[in-house]
């Protein structure tokens, strides 16, 4: 127990927590959107994330010829490199998410089977993806070349905001805002919300169910890919099972906020990111996951549907 660290390190912890929290927010959007539509934990989402991180690394290494020794770039080139990596990561994750839906879920869904059958299929997909990458990378972690030089944007009283963390917080908020608006305002977003309320009725209303579900997976995958890119800019390393812990944490975040609810993913993700940073500062990093789950249990005891649970049907995905 070391409470003084909270006082002395409050702002650095806050910034780290926010950066981690926004990564969680984006991953849990992937979980929560799929859950909202299909009532299904998409176990493969953590592998969709993992493939995004590898896509980022591959593009920066092969297309832009970055390696461990190369200098971080600046100016226009930096912008182009970052955007290309982001696009590659998003596209990879999005396409994989759509493929996962077609391969693992569609046939089971069309036969109207129980949800646990789909869950096992999802687990199978997750194993195949992570094991495939494990075989390709020989179980070794890959580090991504430093594209962005990590300088502090400003420093007040010894508290600095690093550029990569700034990037994560800003673009995380932007991506979340974009998805939120997409679901709220567009015609397709309306269809997604309709399907999440009632699959049967939305089919009767002439909604093409398979198309809407594919788009949901695509959007979830794109956002997860963005999260993968942002994760790489901050942590600069990945391994075949990188998605496992992050995926569990992000799913916890989604449940914490109330799964199936986009705003819930937002608040849940931020809460979890901050809680992890502060708790690990106080109790030591090895108890990080434990405290996170204890928080989850306590929240669920008071609000069994999460902070912003299913009671608010309108605001669901």
């Amino acid at each position: 127990m070391n409470f003084s660290v909270v006082q002395s390190q409050f702002f650095p912890l806050l910034i780290n927590g926010l950066a981690l929290g926004f990564i969680y927010v984006l991953i849990s959007v992937g979980y929560t959107m799929v859950y909202g539509v299909l009532r299904l934990i998409n176990f493969a989402n953590s592998e969709i994330f993992m493939l995004g991180t590898f896509a980022t690394i591959i593009v920066s290494r092969t297309v832009f010829k970055f390696d461990i020794n190369s200098q971080p770039s600046h100016g226009m080139k930096l912008l182009i490199v970052l955007l290309c990596c982001l696009l590659a990561s998003m596209l990879t994750s999005g396409v994989v998410a759509v493929l996962v839906e077609i391969v693992a879920y569609r046939r089971l869904r069309s036969r109207g089977t129980n949800r646990l059958g789909s869950l096992i299929s999802a687990i199978g997909t997750s194993i195949v993806l992570s094991e495939g990458v494990r075989l390709l990378t020989h179980s070794l972690p890959e580090s991504s070349p430093r594209v962005l030089s990590k300088f502090y944007i400003f420093t007040i009283h010894g508290v600095g905001l690093r550029i990569d963390q700034f990037l994560v917080i800003i673009s995380g908020a932007l991506f979340f805002f974009a998805v939120d608006r997409f679901v709220k305002l567009t015609r397709i977003g309306k269809a997604i919300r309709a399907v999440s309320m009632s699959e049967e009725n939305s089919r009767l209303m002439g909604i093409n169910l398979n198309r809407v579900i594919s788009i949901t997976f695509l959007v979830g995958g794109l956002v997860t890919g963005a999260a993968a890119f942002l994760y790489e800019t901050v942590y600069e390393t990945t391994v075949f099972n990188v998605g496992f812990n992050l995926g569990i944490a992000a799913f916890t975040a989604a449940v914490l906020g109330g799964i199936g609810n986009l705003r819930g993913a937002f608040y849940g993700g931020l809460t979890l990111g901050l809680a992890e940073e502060f708790f690990s500062a106080v109790l030591g990093t090895q108890w990080k996951e434990v405290t996170v789950f204890v928080v989850l249990v306590l929240v669920l005891l008071v609000r069994p549907n999460g902070l912003f649970g299913e009671a608010i049907q309108q605001s669901r995905v």
Binding site: Y35, R39, I41, V103, A104, R107, L108, R111, T113, N114, L116, G117, S118, L119, I120, S121, I123, G124, T125, S126, I127, V128, E131, G132, R134, L135, F244, I248, F251, T252, V255, I259, Q286, W287, E289, V290, V292, F293, V294, L296, V297, L300, L301, P304, N305, G306
Partner: protein, 363 residues
């Protein structure tokens, strides 16, 4: 789609009592002989590369069947999605390790205590969390599983990451000693436990708890309205499942003689859940079949060691797509009353008779 479960049930229905008893006895005898099944030239195919076939029968095969049967009470019978079942396995194993190394109790005395501790953990976890539904319960149980593993990993007084070595073997029964050289003896103990669990589950299924679980699984709101004390029966289901997991843990610890936190990862929970769903949720024989295949198959193909898990994942996807309700799914209606069953039997016999006489008339 071929329906193995109905074929089997039909055959069973047609037999009289003495035939059934004889069949069960022969099957049990056959199962007890399984450790020697790999000894003949024509059954060589059963032998597993790398680890010995007899050891594989104890862990993972026997252990996974036992745990899958325990989890089946929770997931299959009462429809509660538990993603942290490994926690109870871990509690049983650590009870055996701590009491076995620090006290003079032997494993047979520790076994009920391990089950008791696992049950207690199940109740303590169940009281606050079983009010939650569906996937909320899933994530909380997942969290519980992780909490137990991390807590064990970070507590140095019980070995921390190194675990506890030197867990004693059980004392011998009828002159049969239990040690690493005799995996077959452990297998027989596990088989006895499996048979006991099967018997218990079959008894419970047709009595009040089983009917309550079935009602909860089908529709919890309706069950509450019909006056089923759902929370109490959910806690029962949870703690009975936990006790089975704890028992598996005790035997596991004393057979391996070592417990370490890295054995009790989330993957084990997922694997056991896969056994249950893959074989056919709620159907005991389906669960046994699923657990046997999913635990034996990866060991059998160990020669392609690196791609083993990949093949396993592919097999899961393909099988679930071909047989979404598992290999041997449960019957759609399970609980006919005695009169209904008699009536159905009579109707079937009459139909057979009518068909016979009909075909006779046509000739």
């Amino acid at each position: 789609m071929l329906n193995l479960r109905d074929k089997g049930a039909q055959l069973w229905e047609d037999w009289n009592r003495s035939k059934r008893v004889a069949f069960v006895l022969v099957m049990i005898f056959g199962v007890f002989l399984l450790p020697y099944a790999g000894d003949f030239s024509f059954t060589n195919i059963l032998n597993t590369p790398i680890a010995s076939y007899q050891a594989i029968l104890v862990y993972p095969v026997g252990m996974y069947i036992l745990m899958a049967l325990g989890l089946n009470i929770v997931v299959g019978k009462s429809g509660l999605l538990d993603l942290g079942y490994v926690a109870f396995f871990a509690i049983g194993a650590y009870t055996a390790a701590i009491l076995g190394t620090k006290t003079t109790l032997n494993i047979w005395e520790i076994l009920p205590m391990g089950m008791g501790f696992a049950m207690l953990a199940g109740v303590l976890l169940g009281i606050p969390t079983l009010r939650l539904r569906g996937d909320y319960l899933a994530i909380v149980t997942l969290g519980f599983g992780e909490i137990v593993r991390i807590a064990v990993l970070n507590t140095n007084s019980i070995g921390g990451p190194n675990g506890i070595p030197g867990v004693p073997n059980p004392p011998s029964i009828l002159g049969q000693s239990f040690d690493l050289a005799n995996p077959a003896h452990f297998f027989w103990i596990v088989v006895v436990m499996i048979l006991f669990v099967i018997w218990m589950v079959r008894r419970l299924s047709i009595r009040r708890p089983g009917r309550a679980w079935e009602a909860i699984r089908q529709d919890e709101d309706v069950a509450i309205l019909m006056g089923v004390p759902t929370l109490r029966y959910k806690i029962w289901s949870f703690s009975i499942g936990a006790a089975v997991g704890g028992a598996a843990g005790v035997i596991f610890a004393s057979q391996q003689m070592l417990v370490a936190p890295q054995t009790f990862t989330f993957n084990v929970s997922v694997l056991i859940l896969s056994c249950v769903v893959f074989g056919g949720m709620g159907n005991i024989w389906g669960v046994v079949l699923g657990a046997t295949i999913l635990s034996y198959f990866p060991e059998r193909i160990r020669f392609i060691s690196s791609a083993r898990q990949l093949v396993f994942g592919l097999a899961l996807i393909i099988t679930m797509n071909l047989r979404p309700d598992g290999l041997l799914p449960r019957k759609k209606r399970e609980h006919l009353s005695l009169e209904e069953r008699e009536a159905a039997k009579a109707a079937k016999a009459a139909l057979k008779q009518a068909k016979k006489s009909n075909s006779g008339a046509n000739k």
